[in-house]
């Protein structure tokens, strides 16, 4: 018997636990030359803002050990052009679409969600909270529990379908933020966005990114995000979407064992745009070989004595 791969995030059902990570798959159609984008659990769009954004000055990307730094600066065509130009293409490709949204003011998140609520084919929104809060002097929304709660509450009022809150990992205790999202009615949390990082060219003594600091993604961060997925899945009842450093199907399985319901893949797409195909195959075979009938059985199956987990027993 073939193992059951489908999973649910709120009311939306994904045919398998794989999702693209925002900002690493364009608007989805760019991948359609490499594999059938209808076969993946969900396509998550680049972060959409109310107005188009041209993004940061270059250089915007740099490679580091087992990872990359980026400071794209939310370059995107804006939510309206997305709805007009890109959504119809995604519908035609039978993709399950999740729109990732970003803004500098809480009200703007609500306005974005409201615009998208009118489009049935947008099955869920994912809130990117790793943006500077202009009112609060540029602190990331995602590092302020109150700001997060306000945004989720406002979006919940205008968007009835699945709301996923994408958390930033750059905080002392990410589970506080996950609990706040759950309390305001979020259907799932994504753990996590990129980690603040930096690299310097020692010969020019210039930063490798124009913005000096950027977000670290790729295998380098996987153990960090793994610990956070485990922590959050023990702290909330809503599903956890893992995002960080997946490069092979084994990594997807590892996140599900740690407690994830679905798993986003990002940076790997740059080297292997057809990665989802072999990942779905690998997961399926692993489940069969390990006598699991479904993803649900594997989820959180870590064999662990929680008493062995000191708050922070290292060194």
């Amino acid at each position: 018997m073939k193992p059951e791969l489908s999973v649910k995030l709120g009311k939306v059902e994904l045919k398998n636990p794989l999702m693209t990570a925002s900002g690493t798959c364009g608007y989805g159609e760019e991948l359609s030359g490499y594999f059938d984008v209808g076969m993946i659990g969900a396509i998550v769009t680049k972060s959409l803002t109310l107005k188009p954004k041209i993004g940061n000055e270059p250089p915007r990307v740099a490679e580091v050990s087992s990872g990359m730094l980026n400071s794209i600066g939310l370059a995107n065509i804006g939510v309206r052009r997305f709805i007009e130009e890109k959504l119809p293409l995604l519908e035609k490709l039978n993709a399950l679409v999740i729109a990732n949204i970003a803004a500098k003011r809480a009200e703007d998140y609500a306005e974005l969600a409201e615009l998208l609520a009118g489009k049935e084919s947008v099955r869920a929104v994912e809130l990117n909270l790793s943006c500077p809060n202009v009112k609060e002097g540029g602190m990331e929304f995602g590092t302020d529990v109150k700001a997060l709660s306000t945004i989720v509450k406002m979006v919940r009022k205008v968007f009835g379908r699945t709301i996923i809150v994408k958390l930033t990992p750059n905080v002392t205790r990410i589970s506080d933020f996950a609990r706040a999202a759950e309390a305001e009615g979020a259907d799932a949390v994504t753990v996590a966005n990129t980690y603040v990082g930096m690299a310097i060219d020692i010969y020019t003594r210039r930063p490798k990114l124009h913005t000096v600091r950027g977000g670290l993604s790729g295998p380098a961060i996987r153990p960090l995000t793994m610990a956070k997925v485990f922590e959050v899945s023990k702290s909330v009842q809503i599903p956890v979407v893992a995002s960080g450093g997946v490069f092979a199907w084994q990594d997807v399985v590892e996140y599900i064992i740690a407690g994830a319901t679905a798993v986003e893949i990002g940076t790997v797409l740059f080297a292997k745009p057809d990665a989802p195909v072999e990942m779905v195959k690998g997961i399926s075979e692993y489940l069969a070989d390990s006598h699991f009938g479904s993803i649900a059985e594997l989820r959180g199956s870590l064999d662990v004595n929680l008493q062995n987990v000191p708050h922070m027993n290292r060194g």
Partner: protein, 259 residues
């Protein structure tokens, strides 16, 4: 809609050191070989390895029957790794990507200005010009003569070296200006270090129809990441080097990356 591109597992046919630190690697890559045009590129990655993590962009240097060649200077992780592959070893190529140079025709004279690994474009442009009956001249610059690659069967290559050890003593943009001598009827194609492109844009692009192949850092090469912006000279918006380029009309873009 994007040009059709392929994710192809290619195998090495041979690698030769063609000048000091410069290599040409020929691989079997039938789908890409049959579809590439001059100025397009491929993203190269290594199966079963995440080091280097990101794919590397290389202009297609030549394509003939089933095979594709790359020309590169072994400077870092990716290029050193390719240079050490043995015949039969695999790589993954994603391509052809980007928009190449405009089509050539027999009506015009094409002046191709290259420096450093930009020389990769000489064989494929030469082959294309010959098939179209276009007349083509190459202007090829390097720091010193030992860095210049000699291409079999390619004629009309004018060398320039900074140290004067071969060809024109000076930079290749000066050489071009000397040769065209105010004649603005031809078309200039260029590929090479950014300072060279900036000089061409400023000193030649204003009067002669000029196309520049730009190099920016690229994470994906296919429009997924928005990592490769090139400033639009008009509205100040950004093009993406990978999808809208890497070849741009010199009047369309403005360079902002410190060269």
């Amino acid at each position: 809609m994007p040009t059709t591109s392929f994710l192809e597992t290619v195998t090495v046919i041979e690698t030769r050191e063609v000048a000091k630190g410069t290599f040409v690697t020929k691989v079997k890559a039938p789908s890409i070989a049959r579809n590439v045009k001059a100025g397009q590129f491929v993203m190269v990655s290594f199966p079963e390895s995440t080091d280097p993590l990101l794919p590397r962009a290389f202009s297609v240097c030549d394509a003939f029957e089933d095979s594709v060649s790359l020309l590169y200077v072994a400077v870092g992780k990716g290029t050193r790794r390719i240079s050490k592959l043995l015949p039969g070893d695999p790589m993954v190529f994603n391509g052809p990507l980007g928009k190449g140079f405009p089509n050539m025709s027999g009506q015009k004279t094409f002046h191709v200005v290259v420096g450093g690994s930009g020389a990769a474009l000489i064989p494929i442009l030469d082959r294309t010009a010959k098939s179209r009956g276009a007349s083509i001249n190459f202007y090829y610059g390097a720091r010193t003569g030992s860095q210049l690659v000699k291409f079999d069967g390619v004629e009309n290559v004018n060398h320039a070296t900074d140290d004067g050890s071969e060809g024109f003593h000076g930079n290749v943009v000066e050489l071009l200006k000397k040769k065209i001598d105010g004649d603005s009827s031809g078309v200039v194609f260029a590929c090479g270090p950014t300072p060279m492109l900036v000089a061409l844009q400023r000193e030649v692009g204003v009067s002669v129809e000029t196309y520049l192949s730009v190099e920016t850092p690229m994470a994906c090469g296919m429009g997924l990441c928005q990592g490769c912006p090139v400033r639009n000279a008009g509205d100040g918006d950004y093009y993406l080097a990978c999808k809208d380029g890497p070849v741009f009309r010199s009047t369309e873009i403005s360079f902002e990356m410190k060269p």
